[in-house]
Symmetry: C2
Subunit: 253 residues, 2 copies
Amino acid sequence: MVVTLTPVPGFPMVRPGDDLAALLIAACEQSGLAPADGDVVVVAQKIVSKAEGRYVDLAQVRPSARAESLARQVDKDPRLVEVILGESQRVVRHRPGVLIVEHRLGFVMANAGVDRSNVDPDVGAEPVLLLPRDPDVSAARLHDLLSAHFRSKPAVIITDSWGRAWRRGTVGVALGAAGLPALRDLRGRSDLFGHELRVTETGFADEIASAASLIMGQADEAQPVVLVRGLSWPDAPTPGATLVRRPDEDLFR
Amino acid sequence: MVVTLTPVPGFPMVRPGDDLAALLIAACEQSGLAPADGDVVVVAQKIVSKAEGRYVDLAQVRPSARAESLARQVDKDPRLVEVILGESQRVVRHRPGVLIVEHRLGFVMANAGVDRSNVDPDVGAEPVLLLPRDPDVSAARLHDLLSAHFRSKPAVIITDSWGRAWRRGTVGVALGAAGLPALRDLRGRSDLFGHELRVTETGFADEIASAASLIMGQADEAQPVVLVRGLSWPDAPTPGATLVRRPDEDLFR
């Protein structure tokens, strides 16, 4: 089994209200990359958020007393902290320069994914971009529309790049998924010598997200869409939300 | 840029004292996959540990009082806990069924990587396998020997699969690396609109490890060696140890 990771070139700037599925279909067709059964279309979170118009203009934000206080402790703009808190269930850890929260969808991550970089200044005086409203819903919608158009069932993953506990450097993660098992269950399979495997679940969609992140780039050569070919999976699809560890099973929040 | 992930087939069972570089060279040549400049040879930790003879026979282990006590709390074999503690600097978290430690090399991980699965019963009555003595040294040695043989400079990554805080499922991580920047520094690069990027470092070797893990498999179809082709990097090489966050910079141990 050889797996290929191919950037889908020529993707345009995405603006609020754009039909992202139509843009994806056009980019795939222009580059001769029609997604087939078993292919995975990996889409950077930012273009999903932009199409969904998930902008907030900091110039319009009035920070609460709580945001003002936390902003002093983390050395960030209090209006940005107000937006982050609005996207969060709670603060997990903070220190100067660092604000780790539990996002409203359960993701434990820096700044609730609220981002200033690569945000088109035309959409507001001081725009920031939030995560998609529900990345699993966005992925399922793209999966349905791509499937209908290409008469195949390509899986879809919406990805972001996150820092991690204990390890330096960001890696790609799956915020949302459709058409594949985000988490693969290996329970019951045996190892080379017939012992039952003790590592029983793999973060399949997260590993695909990290693979795609290798060629998405982070800066001026950004490639927001990557086609992954050659994988296979016997298990039934599960959404990206299955990758979020429940708080009562988590030892680190 | 298209990236390919290709399993190197026909890898034999590895035994203590085997010359792993020679086995790698033979497997590459038999499958017509001569590693070239810019290629990355990804090697599963287990075959490195096996070649290095990193076995302990639990039948020979006498647990300390500390191991006995901790074993009751985590519901594990006290002899196994003794071996885990011997590979660890300290216990980070534990509860029934779970023992997260700081490995002597700084890795925060379950069970210090001590593993019972896929361990050849011929090497002892109740063998377990430890991580390689120093995965960066092992990677550098393979890098040197492959480079000399193939007259090219393929990078080498030694990988494992780890669980994570906050997310379910294991993902591939780089224990050791040679010939590429384990951590890529994007500081000073600007985004699409000319702002300086705020995400400044990516876990490059970890993302490659996760990508390779997609086809390494975990069980009977295990593929312990994967060739990654098509990546490029401008930065100078750094070892896998650069991915370990220093304790004083870490908010979660």
